[in-house]
Each structure stands twice: as structure tokens, then as C-alpha cells.
Symmetry: C2
Subunit: 275 residues, 2 copies
Amino acid sequence: MVDTGFCAFKSDPQAVAESARAARAEIRAGRFTRDTASVASGAVQGNVVILPADWAADFQRFCYLNPKPCPLIGVSEPGDPYLPMLGEDIDIRSDVGAYRVFENGKAVDEVFDVTDIWRDDLVTFILGCSFSFEEALMQAGLPLRHVEMDVVVPMYTTNIQTKPAGPYRGCTVTSMRPYTPVDAIRAIQITSRFPNVHGAPLHFGDPSLIGVDDIDKPEFGGERVDFHEGEVPVFWACGVTPQVVMESAKPPFCITHKPGRMLVTDRMNAEMAVL
Amino acid sequence: MVDTGFCAFKSDPQAVAESARAARAEIRAGRFTRDTASVASGAVQGNVVILPADWAADFQRFCYLNPKPCPLIGVSEPGDPYLPMLGEDIDIRSDVGAYRVFENGKAVDEVFDVTDIWRDDLVTFILGCSFSFEEALMQAGLPLRHVEMDVVVPMYTTNIQTKPAGPYRGCTVTSMRPYTPVDAIRAIQITSRFPNVHGAPLHFGDPSLIGVDDIDKPEFGGERVDFHEGEVPVFWACGVTPQVVMESAKPPFCITHKPGRMLVTDRMNAEMAVL
């Protein structure tokens, strides 16, 4: 059974891990095909990037150079589909909410399992995800408009360049949440405590300053949200960034998660706080 | 001799205290009658509020309830003009850059010494000052426009209500610094580490949302500053707030510092960081 609401035990590592394992079992069995946002609350969810070994070293350096969009919380041995540091039973070939398959930088397929296209040279990278800091924002009483409206958080490509590493380069993708300035200041404080899950925002206010022309036209399956009186958009770096980067890097083969359909890990969101 | 530039030894408590004592000696002797902003760098400077004992308890509670405008860093025994917790030789009657004298809530005089009007029932409150967090901002490479332009930081009365205590109530005064959103986010992080010297900002962006109608018309002797491309105003609570509060509280007698002419203490700015 999948926990789709708030978990009363989300500060209990055992309960969180159990709830995460239950969610993965459902996903693995193909019985859960929605967004993972409200699944296994308290558990860290991750963005997924899977690359051939000879394309992996540059990407690992890319993550190091761009910790805000690409905060690395797990990496596998080449060819090894398991990620014991994130959960004993995780099989990355079947346990992600949904996958996108890229060939030469082009998304060519969306699937629920990649076991039959797995290769012995693949390296898995797991990047922290904003769901973790959203838990902290909600616990602090800050509103999350996309949660209130029950839509996927709006995401936008910006003109904020990543630092290049080998073939990897491109613009930073952001997720956006509307806040009053008072709440935005609090949200900046709170998310600063979570550098492993994107950390503090990259921008607030005028979207055109970061190359976002129409705030009502998000990308990557994100949906528009309402702004209340006095609210400004606040933009955080987003783990979808690598998917844009792949378009120019053009690795011959790459697998990512589908935005919003993440890897549910056994780690606790609360573990991600550095202060 | 007064240290009017950056002190190379400002992380040395002894050197900072010596430089502060030298500054106070000049002020006490009436030989220093300018702004204290660039004096004894590294040393905490304080806003000053002096009240009769029977008006002091409510004000102490007011500070407790309003830690952002009124972060209390020192308080005296009734009638005692000394503040040993802030510097061995401090005599509050002569050591403040300049004083304003209030009667029944009206500023009636500005003087350089209050020894001849001192009373045995007066209690001194010292509130942290933004000079301390400005040192941290500059060390982080963030610009301070009013320093670049060599003017007094612009200050504004807002419509942000303080929490009342006894007769004390009124609007929060703010100081304002222009920043790009990226720098503002960093400035929020940095000043969050300094709750004893006003802490994180209260507002950024549209000034009219906090009742500031004309950003080019600061009050309390502050001066207007330029905005560069893409910068927004960021507003911090200001220790001048009690002077506005006195106008409505109307204590029969009150002494404050003159804005910009502070008490220079022996404490180090670096001590004020909580993280």
C-alpha cells in the first residue's frame, strides 16, 4: 500500500524507510503511475540521470560544478543497478516512477521500466529534489501554491548558464513558487539549510531578468499557478536541468526520470538539513 | 587617534577594543562630531535609548517583543551611567556620537554631552546596529551603495506595526540597501546569522507594500542612493524605530543617540554571529 498522504511517522527513520519501500514495490510492479510528489512523505526523492561510463566522469564533474541544479546524493558503480546508500533494495531499472530515454540528446521514449535496455556500462546519478525542502517549507507554515492547487510545480528554462564540464553545458531549469516578500525571506532562510536538495533560490521577482518571458507558460509538464496579492515569483534551481543539458551534450544513450516521477529513497528529508 | 578606515586587526579583540576606546576618547573630548559609521571598524556600535526607571520596564518588554528593530545588546542599572558589558570605560553621558533629547515625545534638543541633564533614575538601553552586519556583507563582497556614495544609509518609516508594550507602539523604521535578487538572497543568508543586529530583512521589492511612498525621500537624516540595473530595494529593521515610538508614547523625558552617531563599544562585530 502506498502512503499518499502525510506520514505521521515521518521523523521515524524506520517508518519512513518502510513507507518508501512500499512505494517502490508498487512502482516496480507497475501499479503506481502517477506523480510521486505525495508518496512516502518524509522520504527523500531523487532526480535520475543514467549515462554510459565513458560519459559519466564529465557529468560527475558537471554536478560538482553546479551543486544548485545538480546536488548529487547518490552514484552507482558502473553497470551496477543498485544504490545501497539510498535504500537496500533499490533497483534503478524498475524503481523510478517513470523514465525518459534519450538517444543522441533527443528524448525518444517514455517507459516505466528500463530492465530490457539496461547495459553493463551504465552509471546512475541521483540528484536531490525540491520535495525535500518543500516538506520543511510546509512545516514552517509557508504556503505551496502548486500543492494547494494540486498541480505539478511550474518549471522554466532560464538564461542562467551552468558551468560547463566536458560536453555538458546549458541553461539552468528552475521551479517556481509564489511568495510575499516576508514569506520569501523565510523561505530563503529555510532552503539555505538544504544545500543537498537545491538550497537557496537563484532569483526572485521579475522573471524576464532570468529569461522567463511568460510565467503562465511553464515547461516540462509543470503547470501554471495563481499569484495572490503582493506575491512575487521565487525561483529555485531544478533537477530537470540535466535533461536540457543532454540536448546539447548529445550522449549516444541516456536515461532520466520523467519530471515529477522520481526515485523514492529510504533517506529522510530531515537528514538533508545542514543546520 | 580615531581609526577612520578599515582596521587590519579587526579580528583581534584587543586591537578592536583599543580602537573603540580611542574613538570614545575623541568623542568624549568633543573632538569627533561626524557620523560614526567608519569609526573603529570591527567594533559593534549601538543605538541608544535612555529612559526614567518608571518608563523602563515597559520598554524592556517592547524590545523583547520586537527583536528585529530593537535587538537589545546592553542595559544598565537604574542611574548607573556605565555599561561594563559593552566596554570597561563607557560613560553613556559623554561617549555617544551625538544625542537627541525628548520631552513628552518631542525632540527638543541635540547635544554632544548629557552629563548636566543626567538623572539618578535613568536606565540605558543599547540596541544592535546595522553597521555590524554591513561589515559581514562587505566581507562577502556584497556592495553597500550608501558606502560607495559616502552618504548616510537611507531610512524610512513603514506601515509595519511593532508589537505594543505598555505605552510603546508605532511603526517600524527601516534602513534600505539596493541589491540584485542574487545578491539580496545572499544578503538574507548573511544577515540571518546576526539576529542581535537586526537580522534578516523585513521586506524587499515594491516599497509601497510597506507604506514607503517615495524611495528617493528617506527620513531621519538618511540620504537617497542610486539603483543600478536590475536592483530592488531591500529593507532591514532599524534601531531608529524607538525614536518614532517615543513620539506616541510621550515619556516625560528620554535621551537617544542622533541617527548615524552611535555608541562605539568594545565588542566585536564577529561576536554577533550566531552561526
